[in-house]
């Protein structure tokens, strides 16, 4: 599904190397987790995959089902199936959440040559999905993420993901700022989307989210590289001993 090879990324503005050769393959149907200390480059990887400005790829490649992601505009990547649940979801005053969702869904359908969803069909789907994430009608009407609590913002990300049904879901610290109940809700939302055709890249600092979203593979990222890869037990190792031991071992 997602294939990242030898990816080197630096900032456009300053001569600072952030990713220093990331190799990673996420197969369809699998959940990969990336863990790592703050500042190791996890968010940068997620941004580069989804096409944010400000980063320059100096070497390496990233493809989705064989298509070169790095050549595409952000909206083309989205239409191709990439979705990023932001670490810090953006507030957009003046744009209603519902309008935003419908515009996004229909833009992607259009890009794929599908008919737009009718207003009533859309409403039915969105209401059902919102309900399972405990997102009420009021939150759907309000401007995107404006005045939402941390937990509401993260649930709103998962709602967007559920509506857009992407092939490759990247979740950047979706657990941060969530209490246990909210984390369960979010995990349920993610688990409901797990299927054979879909890949997940779950970025997290802590192990606790992975109690609820069972990963197939766990990677440890440090200083712009994947330094260790293993099974779910690797997450437990981090939980018990912190990153220091692993990093010492690799170095």
């Amino acid at each position: 599904m997602l294939e990242i090879k030898y990816l080197h990324v630096q900032l456009e503005e300053e001569d600072k190397q952030i990713l220093k050769g990331v190799d990673l393959t996420v197969e369809a149907g699998k959940v990969h987790a990336i863990m790592g200390p703050n500042g190791s480059g996890k968010s940068t990887l997620s941004y580069v995959l989804s096409g944010r400005d400000g980063y320059e790829v100096t070497e390496g490649s990233a493809t989705l089902e064989g298509d070169d992601l790095l050549e595409m505009e952000p909206e083309e990547r989205a239409a191709a199936g990439v979705f990023l649940a932001f670490q810090y979801p953006v507030e957009i005053p003046g744009v209603g959440n519902m309008t935003f969702l419908r515009t996004a869904v229909n833009a992607q359908r259009k890009a794929r040559g599908q008919d737009e969803l009718s207003a009533t069909d859309f409403l039915k789907v969105v209401r059902a999905k919102a309900k399972s994430l405990k997102i009420d009608a009021d939150m759907l009407k309000r401007p995107v993420n404006v005045g939402f609590s941390g937990g509401e913002k993260k649930r709103n990300e998962i709602l967007q993901m559920a509506m857009l049904e992407p092939k490759m879901c990247i979740l950047d610290e979706t657990d941060s700022g969530l209490d246990v109940d909210a984390m369960k809700l979010v995990a349920e939302g993610v688990n409901a989307l797990r299927d054979e055709g879909r890949g997940f890249l779950v970025i997290t600092h802590y192990q606790r989210l992975l109690d609820h979203i069972q990963p197939d593979v766990v990677h440890i990222m440090a200083d712009g590289r994947i330094v260790k890869t293993g099974g779910p037990e690797l997450a437990l190792e981090v939980e018990n001993n912190g990153y220091a031991d692993i990093l010492a071992e690799v170095n």
Binding site: D53, V90, G94, T103, A111
Partner: protein
């Protein structure tokens, strides 16, 4: 004090091309206004109040020709049941207008009033304009009072069932129009006034609005799409106790627009909201100049102005809140913001507060900026193409001003125009 020679020459040049109408009961007001014009002189480039906007073409004896624009959009306010009063190049068009009678209101043409010796409008004609010359001079409004031949006097005594819709058509490339309207809203009465259209190649409009205690006036205006038209408009509004005035203006294109709003809250608990959304590109120059005076207790005023500028367009905002001594519990809010879609455009803002009471809450803010990159990326990452995402964010930027319109269907008509403007540039 004698006028500077340049100013006097310019003023006399303009005046020499005009003559006072045969004016019946407005004669004295017109003569007074003419005297005011001579005393103040017409606006010049050196005037502080015209620092950001060049008045030359608004003042010159000759009109700069302006193409008449044929729009393919549905007519503004088309779906609304309204009483239509049509002016073509500033001249009343009886055939195109509806019958002027409606329950709860009497409407007379200024021209008809002029042949009468007694008329209620005499109490108001030129009066609010004259009051509005302090502390800042507005000579173009005095010029209008003196010379405007047409317009309507609207006396609202009840709650007319339909909005009164003033339609300003542009017919000739060299038209130079002046309209003067008088509106008196009686105690407890309520009316909606709509205005739309470019009016003329050069348009000078003056509206005097007197809202008695408990009266309500809603005003929604759209200034047409003609690129080359020039307009200087003044609205002088006096508000009685617990009265409400809510005004919104949409400006799309137009090479030069100067919209002045002068509002005086004279009775306790009065409410005044003036808002505007403008979008323009290229040589578009748009100036909102607002002066709100609080002269009573517990009044609320809001100014919300949003400007979207691209390809070198210029936006100007001069807005003042004056809170007089004794105007306690004043709640004054003012925001002016521009969204610059490129580096060539500019926004010049002069927000002012002058407060002589101690128990007041006044805030003002002015910002100028580009599209928010983070928000743009967020929308694009969800699959919304960059143009569409930019347009969404632009409309979102304008929304705070449009939200000032209470009537939802009028507001959505305005939004449709803004969407059209954006779509034509995508």
């Amino acid at each position: 004090m004698a006028l500077p020679e340049v100013k006097q020459t310019a003023t006399e040049a303009r005046l020499s091309a005009m003559s006072l109408p045969d004016a019946g009961c407005t004669r004295a007001a017109r003569e007074d206004a003419l005297a005011r014009v001579r005393e103040m002189g017409l606006p010049g480039r050196r005037d502080e109040y015209w620092k950001y906007t060049r008045p030359d073409t608004l003042v010159s004896p000759d009109v700069t020709p302006a193409e008449v624009f044929a729009s393919d959009e549905p007519v503004m306010f088309d779906g609304f049941d309204r009483l239509k009063i049509v002016f073509v190049d500033g001249v009343f068009d009886a055939d195109a207008s509806d019958d002027l009678s409606m329950e709860g209101v009497t409407i007379d043409r200024i021209e008809d009033i002029c042949c009468k010796d007694i008329h209620w409008a005499k109490e108001l004609y030129g009066v609010l304009e004259a009051r509005g010359q302090q502390p800042v001079q507005r000579p173009l409004a005095a010029l209008n009072t003196a010379f405007a031949r047409d317009g309507v006097a609207i006396h609202v005594t009840g709650k007319p069932s339909r909005p009164i819709s003033l339609i300003y058509r542009h017919g000739s490339e060299t038209s130079d129009a002046m309209l003067h309207h008088i509106i008196r809203v009686e105690s407890g009465a309520e009316v909606t006034i709509l205005e739309n259209g470019p009016a003329a190649s050069r348009f000078n409009k003056c509206m005097e609005i007197d809202v008695a205690d408990g009266g309500v006036l809603h005003h929604v205006r759209a200034q047409g799409r003609d690129h080359q038209r020039r307009a200087a408009t003044h609205m002088f509004t006096r508000l009685g106790a617990a009265s409400v005035y809510k005004s919104f203006t949409l400006t799309v294109n137009g090479v030069l627009t100067r919209n002045e709003q002068v509002v005086e809250l004279t009775g306790d608990d009065a409410v005044a909201h003036v808002a505007g959304a403008c979008v323009g590109d290229g040589d578009f120059h748009h100036d909102d100049t607002v002066f709100i005076t609080h002269d009573a207790v517990n009044c609320e005023s809001r100014q919300v102005f949003k400007k979207v500028l691209r390809n070198g367009a210029t936006g100007v905002f001069q807005g003042k809140i004056l809170v007089k001594a004794g105007a306690q519990k004043t709640d004054g809010y003012q925001i002016s913001q521009s969204l610059l879609l490129d580096d060539d455009s500019q926004f010049l803002a002069k927000p002012e507060l002058e407060i002589y009471a101690d128990d007041v809450a006044c805030s003002h803010g002015s910002t100028s900026g580009a599209i928010d990159d983070t928000a743009l990326f967020y929308l694009r990452s969800r699959g919304v193409p960059v143009k569409e995402a930019t347009n969404m964010l632009t409309l979102a930027f304008l929304a705070e001003a449009v939200d000032e319109i209470e009537d939802q269907s009028l507001a959505s008509d305005i939004v449709t125009r803004l969407e059209g403007w954006l779509a034509r540039r995508s």
